[in-house]
Structure formats: C-alpha cells, structure tokens
Symmetry: C2
Subunit: 241 residues, 2 copies
C-alpha cells in the first residue's frame, strides 16, 4: 500500500512524472526545436496538432459540465475563452490556424481534419473521454501537463524562429499567449489537486492521471515520427507532402 503524502510530496511526485514522461523528451520535439525538421515535417506536426487544439475546448466544456461549484466553473471557463476567443478572429484556435496558414494549408482542410493520422485522433479522443468520464479529481489532474509547458514553449519558439525561415514570430503567436495562460491554469489545477487528493488512493489516481496525459502527448509524437521522420510510414489516408 502507498503511504499518504503531504501536498508538497504529491507535487514532487507529479513533477517526477513530468521529468520522466513529458513530451519535451520525445525525439520528434528534439528535432522540431533543434531546427532539424523539413518544412513538410513541421507541416505534418501543425496539421495533426490542430486536431488536439480543436478538442481542448470540448474537453474543458465536458469538465465544466461536471463542476457543481460556481467559483470552480468561473475559473475553468476561462480556458474555453482562451481557446475560442472573445470574437471571431480571436483565441488560441484562431492563432493555431495562423500557423497552419503560414505553412500553406487551407483553413477548410485543417478544420475538417483531412489527413490527420488516425493515431492522433485515437490519442486525443482518449483524453477527451478521460476528462468526461473519470472522477473529477483525476479529470482535473490530467490537465497538469501545463506545469511543464512554459519550458517547452520558450524552447520551441526560440528554436523554431532561429532555425526555420518559413516560420515567423507572428505565426507562433499561439505560444506567446500560452506562456502566461499555461502557468495560471497549472497553478489553479495543482492547488486543487493538492487540496483534494487526501487519501493515498486518490494521490495515486492523480499521479496515474498525469501519467495517462503524458502518454496522450507522447503517442501523438510517436505517430508523427513513424509517419514523417523514420521509417516514414504514413497510415493509409494520411496527409502526405
């Protein structure tokens, strides 16, 4: 049986999950940030990652629909505002589309998810379902990969701007916003989890939820790597350069 951890010990255990499994360690990200990818490989990443982006507000709405406390709902709904914007042309999804614009995709093609790898869909859909169906504590804990996001984002923007002449600072506007949004969201969720995971089984479930989410992110890069880096085996129907 696992011992009860203090809230700070739980936080340390969660940070250890990130250190071992967060997708900044994935070879695809190492290549992406190091400027080692071709424009077509970056395109494949942006196209597939759009599917993930497009599902985040659905995931957050599924969570919102289960929060009985108005204060919690007020805090969580900001995530949906961040992604969907205050008006047409605003928000994280719009900013991601500016990246796919810059990479030469048509918006209809991207929005329809044409050519997205099946493995991307399976992983992302598993995340949405997890949040919709698991106990609230685990659903919230699965968002904690945000704790590790600022480091990877700073790295990504610097690496991509330095190495890819087909990517401009404007095309990466999505990430600028996330540099402030992600820590705010992560602080909130971490605080919630530390206060509410009070039994050993709950603490283990929280760690498992974060591990699951790391798997979701990792699997998306696995699929990109197989299809577009090595051995170069896009699934039937997947986008090809």
């Amino acid at each position: 049986m696992n011992a009860l951890m203090t809230p700070d010990e739980l936080e340390a255990a969660l940070r250890a999950v990130g250190a071992a499994r967060y997708h900044d360690k994935h070879p695809f990200h190492v290549l992406l940030h190091g400027g080692k990818l071709t424009v077509d490989q970056v395109r494949a990443w942006a196209l597939n990652r759009y599917y993930y982006q497009s599902r985040i507000p659905l995931k957050d709405a599924a969570l919102l629909a289960r929060l009985e406390d108005p204060a919690l709902r007020r805090a969580w709904r900001q995530r949906i505002v961040d992604h969907d914007g205050e008006h047409e042309g605003d928000g994280g999804i719009e900013r991601w589309l500016r990246l796919t614009d810059a990479l030469g995709f048509g918006r209809d093609e991207v929005a329809a998810g044409r050519g997205v790898l099946p493995a991307t869909r399976f992983a992302v859909d598993a995340y949405v379902r997890f949040v919709a169906e698991k106990p609230l504590l685990e659903a919230i804990a699965s968002s904690l990969t945000e704790m590790f996001a600022p480091g990877i984002i700073a790295n990504r923007v610097a690496g991509m701007l330095a190495n890819y002449d087909f990517v401009s600072k404007e095309a990466l506007a999505y990430f600028d916003k996330r540099l402030t949004q992600a820590p705010r969201d992560a602080d909130f969720a971490l605080d919630y989890v530390k206060r509410n995971a009070r039994r050993p089984d709950q603490q283990q479930a929280v760690i498992a939820a974060l591990t699951f989410k790391c798997d979701v992110l990792w699997a998306q890069l696995d699929a990109l790597y197989l299809a577009y880096v090595a051995p170069g085996l896009p699934a039937p129907g997947a986008w090809t350069p």
Copy 2:
C-alpha cells in the same frame, strides 16, 4: 452527392476498402508472417494484441446491449461465447493466453496489460467506444474486417510455423478456431449491412465505419513497428525485452 448502390455494389465498395487498408499490407505483418521478426518482436505483438482480444467481448456486449431483436441478439451473442468460452480454460481469450504462455509471459502480467503501448490502448478503446456509441448499422459494419481475416490467418499460421521455432501449432490454436468463426461472423454482418444500408448516406457511413476499423488495426501495428522494429522507440513505461 453519392449515388445509391445496389447491395452487391456496396459489398464491392467494402471489399475495396479492405484491399486498400486492411492490415495484412502493413510492414509489421509482412515481417511477422515472413519470419523476419525476432522472438522479442513477436512477444511485443502478442502482448499488445492481447489487449485487443480482451476488449472484443466488451465491444460485442456493448453492441448486444443495443440490439432490440432477440434473433439478432442470439446471433451476436455467439461472438461472446467464442471469446469467453463455455467454461474455464475454453474460448478465444484463453487460446490467446496459450500463445503468450508459449512466449514466456506470466498470465497475470498479460491480463493486467502491463507494458502495453499507450497507442494500443487508445486505438482499441476508440473501437469499443465506436461500437457503443455509433448508429447500430455503423457499429455492425465496423466488424466487417472479419471479411478479410481468413486470408491473413491462413498466411500467418503457415508463415509462423515455418519460420519460428519458438511457436508451435498448439500455441496458434486461437487462429484455427477463427478460420471458421470469422467467415460465419462476417457473412452475418455483411448480410445485415447489405440489407439495411438503403440510403446513400447510410452506405457511405458503412464504408466509413469499415475504414475506421481498418485504421484501428493499422494503428496498432504502427505502434509496434515504431516501438520494436524501427527506429525502436518504445513509449515510457512500455514493455521492453
């Protein structure tokens, strides 16, 4: 808009999906059947595929729970009997465990799914959810990969027995049974689909359901290929030889 097909034209369209996308064309299967895999690569396949096998009766039970016609339920429940057996030590799942036994895994380890690739879970769980949630016609159509199974199974058994001295005919008993079960199941489902897909949109949905299922099978082999063949990148926590 798509034109209405005759039932036989629909069948031909479904067979065309299999010809283009069924996983017998996947490089991992080509290696498996051609005797080109190491024992550890075959182990990884058997371990991950067990997760798929273990979910099939859950998928069929989810479908059974939605069939309002007793005759349909009687026909479909046979699939659950085939997998779970008439008694302890009988059934397809038990026969799959004889294969993992022969490959040196402990049954507890296999049954717990320890080391299964996250991408395997995401793909398989997507299939179970599809069958539980989509219109009945599509749920049934997604089983139609069985139409293409006898060819691959005959090939697999012959290829594995000829090429791997660590695999015996007894360890492959699962596939002997499937040689008769799969065509019976496929005939039933194909007949159902041909009789019930009477509008062009239904026919397209049926084709899409089979395409989806081919993606589910393909993605499982993609994950095995990436992790255990090339470049050899098992996800964190995945089984390693």
